[in-house]
């Protein structure tokens, strides 16, 4: 039974608590200069937002502005009556004042208007807070402005400053602050000249600030009501000032930090809002306002706007220790770090690859040049070897006509000494001498071609048949000496090929000498045939057929490999050299056995079709 009673009581208490929570808290927000006037509008917004964030239940906000703050001579009575009427049937839970005039107003009329309602004074300087705490039933969340510190740091970052211009309006509060600042900053008057613009209209202030002498700085205090009695929305006023000012602007509060303030030890508006909302919540929760002790909010660590530092050429090294720099516009590197890193990496990689390729290309060029030189030398040595092999028959071939010439000459000499000389006979002898001399010239020419050691290439198109004829002249003595038969079956058309005739001659020579050697010792007849023909529109073909011993089956596939030879005294280089030369001109060569002997067939592109040889 008792348990049931306790349970029922608990449920009742919870229900009442829930009802209390669901009942909105009614808050009157009393502004000093109007809800839109800076910097109190920022403070009000901050307190409002923080209160909603920190208090879980619903809050019903009422807002009103103290019309009398702008004009000290105005009568407060109508406004008191207005508020009294407005809240006759509305129970308030809290009155929050924003700014010193509103706090003064509540202190003065609280008993008349809201005798039982807790109050919270915020948005005001600690020195402007009511002195009658803690007995009073109100709490205070104030802040401290350290103007000497602000000026000290201003002169530290801009040490050449010799003039400080103060932007403050003409309302009672602003005049109060003019007086305060004049007193507080007196020690600086020896270092800098102060210029107070509070007796000017805001337009005049702007004009002045757009033409300040060099080494000036502006300290933006408050701009609520100017000397002409015009009220100003402070944020807009600040923006206009920043737009025209030709000197850096400093302030005490961070409301305009990011909008053009250089920076310094600034009071944080959001911190005021956060702490004021915290105190309000504690009051909602039943704490006595007068017992809530909230120490004044001190300026935060110095903060600076990077853009303004750049604009006024202030070095970051000149900033006070512990300063933070905001709004840094990232440089190209900071902004596109990953892209730039990737780009640079790609460039480095690309450069590396290009370097490697260039090195490789250079190395290849060297290797190719080296290989080309070696091939050229091998071809030359091959020709010398061929010349050696042919030397016996060439000597024979040369000495025969020389012998004839000598014999005929001496015979002619003797005939001419006779009386009368047999001139007809002498004439016949001279004709024979001329013929033999021509024969000798031909042989010497062939020999010169064979032993030609020039290095430059000759790539004029030539008739392949002519090259075959040259070879025939060279090898005929050898063929004759060995009692063999050399037959040529040449295409009855010009077969132009673009390759060095010396190279081509060497190929044919190698194949012919190979054939001659293959027939040596073989059963007669010893017939060697050279055929040339055109293959379509692209190629020419040369077939060299012998009636020798043929190529053994085991060597047929390797016959073009270096050092593979079927001859006891062979070097095994003749055929590989022939193949290398042909391939360098875009040709190819094959070998096969016939019923008797072998046939070597090579192909070359017709002039203008093949590549330039690397043997050049």
């Amino acid at each position: 039974m008792i348990t049931r009673l306790v349970f029922g009581f608990t449920v009742l208490l919870l229900t009442m608590a829930n009802e209390a929570m669901s009942e909105p808290r009614r808050v009157l927000f009393l502004h000093s200069y109007g809800r839109e006037l800076g910097p109190w509008n920022d403070v009000a917004r901050s307190v409002h937002d923080e209160l909603i964030r920190q208090y879980p239940g619903p809050i019903d906000f009422f807002e009103s502005s103290l019309a009398t703050a702008r004009d000290p001579d105005s009568d407060s009575v109508p406004f008191v009556e207005y508020l009294s009427t407005l809240f006759t049937n509305r129970k308030l839970d809290l009155v929050i004042t924003n700014g010193a005039p509103a706090a003064d107003f509540i202190r003065k009329y609280r008993q008349q208007l809201f005798p039982e309602i807790p109050a919270l004074f915020t948005g005001l300087q600690h020195r402007r807070a009511p002195p009658d705490r803690p007995s009073a039933s109100y709490a205070v969340v104030a802040f401290n402005n350290d103007f000497p510190l602000i000026l000290e740091q201003m002169l530290r970052v801009l040490p050449e400053t010799d003039r400080v211009v103060f932007i403050l309006g003409s309302s009672p509060l602003e005049r109060y602050w003019v007086d305060q600042l004049r007193t507080e900053l007196k020690p600086f008057q020896e270092r800098v000249t102060f210029e107070w613009l509070n007796d000017l209209s805001f337009e005049e202030m702007l004009k002045r600030c757009s033409a300040l002498p060099a080494r000036s700085a502006i300290l933006f205090g408050l701009m609520s009501v100017d000397a002409a009695g015009v009220g100003h929305e402070e944020r807009k006023a600040f923006d206009r000032l920043h737009a025209v000012a030709n000197a850096p602007i400093f302030s005490y509060v961070d409301a305009y930090f990011g909008a053009g303030l250089v920076g310094g030890p600034l009071t944080q508006v959001n911190e005021i809002g956060r702490q004021a909302a915290g105190v309000a919540v504690r009051i909602f929760n039943g704490e006595t306002p007068g017992e809530i002790n909230s120490p004044p909010i001190e300026p935060a660590a110095p903060r600076y706007d990077w853009r303004e530092l750049q604009r006024w050429k202030i070095s970051e090294r000149a900033l006070p220790e512990g300063s933070e720099v905001y709004f840094r516009i990232p440089g190209m590197w900071e902004q596109y770090r990953s892209q730039l890193t990737a780009g640079i990496a790609a460039l480095v990689l690309q450069a590396g690859i290009i370097s490697l390729l260039l090195i490789e290309r250079r190395r290849r060029q060297f290797a190719q040049t080296d290989a080309s030189d070696r091939r050229r030398e091998v071809v030359r040595l091959n020709r010398v070897t061929t010349a050696n092999v042919l030397s016996t028959s060439l000597a024979h071939e040369l000495n025969q006509p020389l012998g004839a010439i000598l014999s005929n000459t001496e015979a002619a000499q003797m005939l001419l000494k006779a009386n009368p000389p047999d001139l007809a006979q002498v004439d016949a002898i001279l004709s024979d001498i001329v013929r033999d001399e021509q024969r000798v010239s031909e042989i010497i020419l062939g020999l010169r071609n064979l032993l030609n050691n020039r290095t430059e290439g000759d790539l004029r198109p030539r008739d392949l048949n002519d090259t075959v004829r040259d070879v025939v002249k060279i090898v005929t003595p050898e063929i004759t000496r060995r009692a063999m038969v050399l037959r040529t079956v040449l295409a009855d058309e010009v077969l132009p090929v673009r390759c060095d005739p010396i190279h081509l001659q060497q190929v044919i020579l190698n194949l012919v000498m190979n054939g001659i050697d293959a027939m040596e010792g073989a059963q007669p007849p010893h017939n060697l045939t050279i055929r040339t023909q055109r293959l379509g529109d692209t190629d020419v073909e040369v077939r060299i057929t012998d009636t020798g011993k043929g190529i053994s089956a085991g060597k047929l596939t390797s016959i073009f490999d270096a050092f593979v030879t079927t001859k006891p005294q062979g070097t095994g280089l003749g055929l590989p050299i022939a193949k290398t030369i042909l391939e360098s001109y875009g040709g190819d060569i094959t070998a096969e056995n016939r019923m008797r002997g072998a046939v070597f067939t090579f192909r070359l592109p017709l002039s203008g079709i093949g590549p330039t040889s690397e043997l050049m």
């Binding site: 000495n399 025969q400 006509p401 012998g403 010439i405 005929n408 015979a411 003797m414 033999d436 009692a483």
Partner: protein, 122 residues
């Protein structure tokens, strides 16, 4: 003119040289018989008596000059032989002298060498 009237038989397969030698020897007063090959000579040796002198090319196509000399020697024909060659090497020279010759001439040669060799022939 020559001191001897012995017939000089020239066997040379190079027609031009054969004719040149024929002219030269004739100019020196020698009766000359010419053959283009050893085979031709062997077929027609008429008029080639013991007083003949053979001027033989070593590297004849077909039967070589040295082989001809060997054959003649082996058949009992002992004629003075002068070998001539366009391919001079130690082997050839040795073979020539082994086969039997009174002179070995390297083509081309001056007529004085030939005539001296002929005149010195036994």
């Amino acid at each position: 003119m020559g001191y001897c009237v012995r017939t000089i038989v020239v066997i040379e397969d190079n027609p031009s040289l054969l004719q040149g030698l024929s002219r030269l020897l004739s100019a020196h007063g020698f009766p000359v018989r010419t053959f283009g090959s050893a085979e031709a000579f062997l077929e027609d040796k008429s008029g080639c008596d013991a007083d003949c002198l053979l001027l033989l090319d070593i590297h004849l196509s077909g039967i070589s000059g040295i082989d001809l000399q060997r054959r003649l020697t082996s058949s009992g024909t002992d004629l003075p032989v002068i070998f001539m060659t366009a391919i001079d090497n130690e082997t050839t020279r040795q073979e020539a002298f082994d086969a039997g010759c009174i002179a070995y001439l390297r083509k081309p040669f001056l007529s004085k060498l030939l005539i001296d060799a002929i005149n010195q022939a036994p």
